[in-house]
Symmetry: none
Subunit: 412 residues, 2 copies
């Protein structure tokens, strides 16, 4: 089976943004055993007409992205209708959907977005107004999706991929999803290959975590391989389903009706930003102190001058004092702290990536743990430290032995 993509966007042929659809779709279709024979990027100027005709001759599937906006220069609809030899008609399902999204604002130009070639089916767009659609023209499956990645991506995964599997007569693919924390994507891929090179492993990096998808063989065999992978990276590093460290921390706080506060140095406020990101944050998050300067650690967080001058600000003692300091200051149930070297230069003689994370809680023994992140770059070290703090906060609240957990970790 041959597939081609036509990617429409003047901002692409003007080099203002870089296409990512071609690469995403290529990866997934190749994965299904489909040969991608051509990816064509053209401006929104109607040149799709000529291209579509040519690629249809050599392709069983043509996926077109972009050109579905409400303005008149968006030519995708009429061109596909023409190629399929079908009339464009107002699709009532699409129009009802547009009305539900836009309400009173759905007039005039938007009506165009409900036009679909006769006999085609619509593809629901959860994140935008333009539905996608698919159908056949001269024996070729034609799929049309909107251009914006946040609209296109879920439509591609939820509808187009299953459609292709069905067309290829591939069995319903069982795919297990996991979430991996504080691992480099390349390292995770390497470990997956080590565990079982015959399984289909897919990874997707998402800032604070990596989604891991596993398919192939039997469920029991996949589970056994994932168990081995979990052993390799250590406790809590690979968890079932699609989640993130922030959700784990929030769930633990909510379950225990507990509040939290944060004292940050190298993460600079990142953990606090995360803990206030979701609505309802005032139910568990009281506040934070970023003590970037030693004077603020001392004057606001009550870290003693003795610790600062004797042990240094990147030390077990300082992390412990910061966590206890912010907990006292805010009267929170739990507190976490982070102090370390985000780089690019060593600090206090300590290597870049050296980070202490402290934990304190009402009626609980305070503690701090040392991590040595292998990452290069401030942003990566800050993200890893924030993820670690949130992940272990959930374990600390649950009463787990966080020292044992941290000691089980490899490849951080």
């Amino acid at each position: 089976m041959n597939a081609s993509f036509i990617i429409i966007g003047t901002e692409l042929t003007r080099g203002i943004i870089q296409d990512s659809h071609g690469s995403l779709m290529s990866k997934e279709l190749t994965h299904l055993g489909i040969h991608v024979s051509e990816i064509v990027i053209v401006p929104d100027d109607g040149s799709i007409e000529k291209i579509l005709e040519a690629v249809m001759r050599s392709s069983d599937v043509v996926i077109i992205t972009g050109g579905l906006g409400p303005t008149s220069d968006d030519m995708t609809r009429p061109v596909i209708a023409e190629a399929a030899g079908a009339e464009l008609e107002k699709n009532e399902e699409a129009w009802a959907f547009l009305l539900s999204k836009l309400g009173d604002k759905a007039y005039g130009a938007n009506e165009r977005q409900a036009l679909i070639p006769h006999g085609f089916s619509i593809i629901e767009n959860r994140n935008g107004t333009a539905p996608g659609f698919y159908g056949y023209g001269k024996g070729t499956l034609l799929v049309s999706l909107p251009g914006p990645p946040r609209e296109m991506t879920p439509m591609f995964y939820d509808t187009v991929l299953p459609l292709l599997r069905e067309k290829l007569d591939l069995p319903e693919c069982e795919r297990d999803e996991y979430t991996s924390f504080i691992t480099a994507e390349a390292k995770l891929e390497e470990l997956c290959e080590e565990v079982d090179p015959t399984l289909d492993w897919g990874t997707r990096f998402q800032d604070y975590r990596i989604s891991l998808y596993v398919s192939g063989k039997s469920k029991a065999e996949r589970d056994e391989s994932v168990r081995k992978l979990k052993d390799k990276v250590g406790m809590m590093r690979l968890v079932d389903g699609n989640t993130d460290a922030l959700s784990l921390a929030i769930n633990a706080l909510k379950k225990n009706k507990a509040t939290v506060s944060v004292a940050e140095s190298c993460t600079g406020g990142l953990i606090s930003t995360l803990l206030t990101e979701r609505s309802g944050a005032s139910g568990y998050m009281l506040g934070s102190v970023t003590g970037y300067a030693p004077s603020v650690k001392r004057d606001v967080l009550s870290v003693s001058s003795g610790i600062i001058s004797g042990k240094g600000t990147v030390s077990y003692e300082c992390a412990l004092a910061m966590a206890e300091g912010v907990r006292n200051l805010t009267s929170s149930d739990y507190a976490i702290s982070v102090t370390g070297v985000a780089g690019p230069d060593k600090d206090e003689g300590k290597d870049v990536g050296t980070v202490y994370i402290g934990f304190a809680g009402r009626g609980r023994e305070s503690t701090a743990l040392l991590f040595r992140y292998s990452s290069w770059g401030r942003a990566s070290i800050r993200r890893k430290a924030a993820t670690t703090a949130l992940l272990l906060l959930s374990a600390y609240i649950d009463g787990a032995d966080i020292k044992q957990i941290a000691e089980s970790w490899n490849y951080i």
Copy 2:
């Protein structure tokens, strides 16, 4: 003038790597005023033959990357020779170059890499063995470059771009770059069209700012249109060049050898995270307090209970007290504060998007300003508030009238 690109690489159509040549060349050719009509990505399977013929018909320039390796499946050379109606011949200059690079290892298969269509000129490859080449076929300029970016990029800049200027006798195309703050991308595009629909406006959204590119007409005409656009959005909202609000704030702090601290509520630590993002942050950033709960505003930031119960935490008085509170706490030269309603629900009877931003400084009158952001969504409101705070911090440090600046703003 029309250009097309053919980008050859099976690793591209299998989704293993993402193409960047298309975007790079599009940007630079657009900059020269050349219309890029098509970017085609194909595998290394000879399918370039059919494609090249088709794109040559509609293009004055075709740039082909990839397929120049020493193995037999690299078809670019014979296909271009065929399209140009020229024989492939061993180019002595290219062969001498290969020998100098490979020495004794230059045998057999490598000899193929010195084959160039008769009448074509070679393009030196500083970082690899395969030279590029260019010449004419049926009136179209055909340029062939190797695929690896570290080989292709310098060849494109050093030889191809100058060649296009010279051979095609193009006038210098000028493009001006600006940075826009706290505007929705769609709104900015609409305003650009209002100001002058005959100019080429390009926008690129980048989290905390939008890059704006303007080309066409004369420099004086572009400047006049940008001046009108600046008037429409208000002071400081559209600045020359590629910058961001964080850089403006950091530059003002450094220039004045000043330190800063931050008190945050709805932004939750975001401004502090930004101010500690870059290396060298300890030179100007002392620390911050996120007073998410009213108790932390009172106990840590010293906002009086009278303000909290009388005026509310989303008030001019609270923002002012937070800024002064964190400045006193950290002894910083300057302080900024943010308190507002990030949503999704109203708070204290105030609409989502209502944000007060406070400013305090050594020997300066403290003040707070009210903003009503039109955005939906917590993330967007938090980003706009953080950008506003950093932008106006730079003005406050410079001694500007920030009230007047804020009052000039439209469409925030």
